[in-house]
Amino acid sequence: MAVTKNEHGQTNSINQVRYGCAVGALYSVVSIPGAVPIGHCGPGCMDKQYTSLAFYNGFQGSGYSGGSVSPSVNAGEKEVVFGGEKRLDELIKSTLKIIEGDLFVVLNGCIGELVGDDVGAVVSKYQKQGVPIVYAETGGFKGNNFVGHEIITTAIIDQYVDKYTLNKDHREKGLINVWSELPYQNTFWRGDLSELKRILEGAGFKVNILFGGKSGGVEEWKTIPHAQFNLVVSPWLGLKTAKHLEQKYNQPYLHIPVLPIGAQQTAAFIRQVVEYAGIDPATAESFIEQEEQEYYYYLEHFNDFYSEYWWGLPATYAVVGDSTYNLALNKFLVNQLGLIPKRQIITDNTPEKYREAIAQEYQQLAHDVATTVDFVEDGYIVGKLLRETDFGHKPPIIFGTTWERDTAKELKGKIVEVGFPASYEVVLNKSYIGYRGALQLIEKIFTAAISASA
């Protein structure tokens, strides 16, 4: 069968991968405190996802149940020929004996799916015994880890939360489930999610952040049905889960496509959520006021540098990355810093049905600034598009990944690694969103811009 090329010349080929596969969502499991993934896959599958997503991407680390902890059947020829159900069964049994966990998530990989293993049958035996365990069909050919993430969240909701939550009809006003960045894939997800939680709590909400150190772990997941509504803060990821919850529990959702960075976006974001929730805006307003006071205290001091630095600062930029970060950065860079967008490339293989709506957002970055966005996953094409871009007389800042280092050098520009893979960044709790994250982002951008100048 002949392969067709798209308008950028993209074929099936992918150079410089920018996401993992559906099994990579095992890191969504790892990011829920107390949850343990079990891989029904080949010997290298889990290691590949680990070394790419959790190691050479900000060196985020394996935490409690990732890295070499994660059980895996390490399927061999025998499992391929005779099937791997028996092997999975003994692995689950021994995992329960050895590993301490609140919830176990079995991820079926390419091998299990292709040889037709009935993973559901193996797992349901344990479910019937009251073991907190769920399974998900996450064969790598099903799609990337964005796809896998929602397969997993749905599996946990349907097979665990639904079963163990008491009073599923009970709703708590002001309690929100947040669905936003993809854990580990977004290099700064930990810091970002905790800033998101801080902002929403500051505005008067109770927040199920669900992933990361600020999450209450598996216990918190059991309160998902109690939330007043689901909040999706991303252009598309999480929508599927929110719609599923709407159907399942008649729980409404609010979709805000732009992850807020900086005072303007964050205040707008808070007001939108408060209004939707119908809670008293007084707490939110006083929080905004307090935060703005602090935020602009710093910006006022930053101003000397921004308006008087003798040796020149970059004016134009490109962003290459996930839709969530890409759009969020664009809104901030244009509106807060007054930088000029030249090339925007979304690399997360956004489902077709969302692309037009996302492109529309770039048409209205500010009242007087619009730009276009390209959807590309092949790094070779990304490099080509960047090199073809006219950045004007000064070298640009490239907000991208490690893959863009060579191109940034060629363009004599500066690279700020903001997404997978960020192999030359060490990330602990750094955040680039909200009020506090925006300040860190400004520090990062301009340190990168001037540190190489002499």
Partner: protein, 507 residues
């Protein structure tokens, strides 16, 4: 031991060729006795699978590593070639770690730093049903158009193996069409229980389709089979008027072509070099330096003398040995004072571990335990001089707790409890984080050349002093980190108990 068969497109995996195992527990000398290197090397066959070593495999396993990853870090690291991964996108995630290693390796060797050239064919669900040779052809064309490579490697994957893609025929056709080697490498993760088969798969493809068949010889050229480590061989070999041909990582295709013209082949680790070195001797008449590996005084002396003999530079080698002994001995004496009373532990690939233990013992560091990721009872040449475990035991003594565990962290816990080392030497991720939570610092050996030769003894001693300083960090962490293992498991004295008593999981 059978002969290496280069007529087959697929490499024979290690367990069939060498009897490789990935789980074992005992002492170094027991393992050595059971491996019966010499008998095996001379071709004994006690049953249909060769002389099988018993293997302590149990029901619980943690994620390991696959052959395809080794293909990425070998074939993917050839400078003017392209590797195509015929697979779903998940296998492509490997591009990220191997790019980082490649970039830093290029910098270390003084080459231009640039991104790794690996293309993924991005197979999807319908491809699993209908096959995807069209996509493979397209990606080969893309590789050609994008990079004008001197060679194209194609790595297989678990899914392409299961759906039975005829990769060979596509490769053959494209090779004719493009006029460069297009080389299928069979490295499905499920094909071999140990990832080192991926080294062999890459080397097999290179031997079949890149190495020149010419009879021309370069009498001062020595093949060094290595990874991306720092260039310690060029200055060393200069003393003997020899030049280095580094393969496979960081090599150019023409470096690979001239493998057949060299005066000799050496390796720093038989796990890595076994297949290619033996095949170069068997098929191209390039002698393999058959000697203990160059670690510690005894190993390095013997290795250099054999190199001198094979390349007819005995005298230069003797001068070098004398000079180097005199140079490093005072430094080592100083280091020994600082390292006095320390206990070390080695957790790496098989032959490399044997070498590192030698260096530690040379520094008077106590080594009571080691974990190797796999064990090859014999190497491809079958020559007893390459019996690295035997050499370790003969010259440096017994290692009482010697275990084979394929990166199984849950077992590593028990092994550390048993040995209680002050530090560990490690390669490959996954074990050091656990040691760290127990307050034990690890020296990760990214530069695999650090411990080689006489200077290697000094290097390793200094590296250990550096990491011991990290202990403060790990001791602090120890007080706050929670291990993921149940109390029942933490209390087990025998890390292999489930292999011996699998019925325990029913209790």
């Amino acid at each position: 031991m059978g002969k290496i068969n280069l007529r087959m497109a697929e490499v024979q995996n290690r367990e069939r060729r060498l009897g490789t195992i990935i789980a074992w527990n005992g002492t170094a000398s027991d393992l050595h006795t059971q491996s019966s290197y010499q008998q095996r090397g001379s071709g004994c066959k006690t049953n249909k699978d060769g002389c099988r070593l018993c293997e302590a495999k149990g029901p619980f396993t943690q994620g390991s590593v696959c052959s395809e990853q080794m293909v990425e870090c070998q074939a993917g690291n050839v400078r003017d070639a392209v590797l195509i991964q015929h697979s779903p996108i998940g296998c492509g995630a490997g591009q990220v770690p191997y790019n980082s290693i490649y970039r830093n390796g290029l910098a270390m060797r003084g080459h231009k730093v640039e991104n790794i050239r690996i293309i993924n064919t991005n197979l999807q669900e319908t491809d699993m049903v209908f096959g995807a040779l069209g996509k493979l052809k397209q990606s080969i064309d893309d590789a050609w158009e994008r990079y004008s490579p001197k060679a194209i490697f194609i790595g297989t994957s678990c899914p392409t193996g299961i759906i039975g893609e005829d990769i060979e025929s596509v490769a053959r056709k494209k090779q004719e069409e493009l006029g460069i080697p297009v080389i299928p490498l069979f490295c499905e993760g499920f094909r071999s229980k140990h990832w080192s088969t991926g080294f062999d798969a890459t080397q097999h493809g290179i031997l079949r389709q890149i190495v020149k068949k010419s009879t021309k010889k370069q009498e001062d050229l020595v093949n060094v089979i290595s990874l991306w480590g720092s260039d310690i061989f060029t200055p060393m070999f200069k003393e003997f008027n020899l030049r280095v041909n580094y393969v496979v990582d960081m090599a150019s295709v023409s470096d690979l072509e001239q493998l057949s013209e060299a005066a000799a082949t050496v390796g720093f680790c038989y796990t890595l070099s076994s297949y290619m070195a033996a095949a170069l001797e068997q098929e191209f008449g390039v002698p393999e330096v058959k000697a203990p590996m160059p670690y510690g005084f005894a190993g390095t002396d013997a290795w250099l003398r054999e190199l001198g003999k094979v390349t007819h530079r005995e005298e230069l080698v003797e001068q070098y040995i004398a000079k180097e002994h005199a140079r490093v001995k005072p430094k080592i004496a100083e280091l020994k004072k600082k390292l006095q009373g320390l206990k070390g532990y080695v957790a790496t690939g098989s032959a490399y571990a044997h070498g590192l233990i030698q260096v530690l013992r040379e520094l008077d560091i106590q080594v009571d335990g080691s974990l190797v990721f796999h064990h090859d009872p014999v190497y491809d040449s079958g020559d007893a001089r390459e019996d690295s475990l035997g050499h370790l035991i003969e010259h440096y003594g017994e290692v009482p707790s010697f275990n084979v565990s394929n990166r199984q962290q849950y077992q590593f816990y028990g092994l550390l409890q048993e040995v209680k080392p002050d530090f560990i030497l490690i390669r490959h991720n996954g074990l050091a984080p656990l040691a760290s939570k127990l307050g034990i610092p690890a020296a990760p050996l990214g530069d695999e050349h650090i411990a080689i030769g006489y200077e290697g003894i000094v290097n390793l001693g200094e590296a250990i002093l550096n990491i011991l300083a990290h202990k403060k960090f790990h001791d602090d962490l120890k007080k706050h980190a929670k291990l993921p293992y149940k109390q029942w498991w933490l209390e087990q004295k025998d890390p292999y108990i489930l292999a011996k008593h699998p019925e325990l999981i029913d209790a």
